[in-house]
Amino acid sequence: MKSGQVRLVGSNSGKRSAQEPNVPTIAEVIPGFDFAPIVGVLAATGTPQAAMDRISAEMAVVAKQPDTIQILSNAGIEAIGGSAADYARAIADENERLGKAVQAAGIKQQE
């Protein structure tokens, strides 16, 4: 990337990434553009709450370990380790933004 094989002209995150601080965000040209993908863990409905709580708590601990942060960062990924409530909110926000984008793009639903 840094060898000139690829020219990065913008990131889709709301703010510049620590990994590529010199690459502007698309939001700097188009305010409000924030579409960085999030990745999370979900369980099937009916899963014991104690199991979900344990996994959530351990994910939060792992997300704060320096080597986790480093290895994810090397891959351009930010460790978060947010709670179930954080994730529910993030999914709702993302659904709203992407639903609007799909509508605005005039993409029709398929069967």
Binding site: V9, I26, A44, I55
Partner: protein, 229 residues
Amino acid sequence: MNSNNIFRRRVWQAAALAVAAASIGSAAFAQTYPNRAIRFIVPYSAGGLPDTVARIYAQRLGDRLGQPVVVDNKPGANGVVAAQAMAASPKDGYTFLVTDGSMFSINPSLYKTISYDYKRDFVPVSLAARAPLYLAVHPKTPANNLRELIALAKAKPGTLTYGSSGIGHAPSEHGSDESGFVVGHHAHSIQRHWPIRTCVDWWSSRHVVFCLAIPVWLCEVGSGALGRQ
């Protein structure tokens, strides 16, 4: 004390016992959980963003839990295969889904009928990570920044092409949102399975614009898959 009161008291006692039994059951579960391997189902093939995140967390999570956490890739049909695997697994706390938002946010907007329902079938557990994607152009493309790229796309509608990882690939689709980000709107999409095809096609100049997560770039550029020009 009349019989009605006795009946009520017995009902309350029974209810209290049931609650106590449930909490003892829950406590016992928590004490022994997990006592075998946990599975992380990923609705994509190995190497993409959710898979990378799942593997990095799985290893460290396994160390903390004292049980292996195994990543199980179930790609196909925009998440339907993974959703079916989730539905077919016992709801016992040993199977989880690790995914990005496509299954929940994009696919319901694209398809009238889809066999899974986020709110009905899944419960959020943990927000693991966030990864910005980068809009990239081939070095030969005469656009040094986003404004120039937009100007180029507007000046020559339909001539810029971009690769995407498949139907519903988020960064490609929302290239045409209402904010006036017109590159996607004026560009021609060629669907390819990523990562190899997209990268190689792009590199041979058939694609001049595309979005891709950084992890894949490091893998492809670093491995020399893009070495021919």
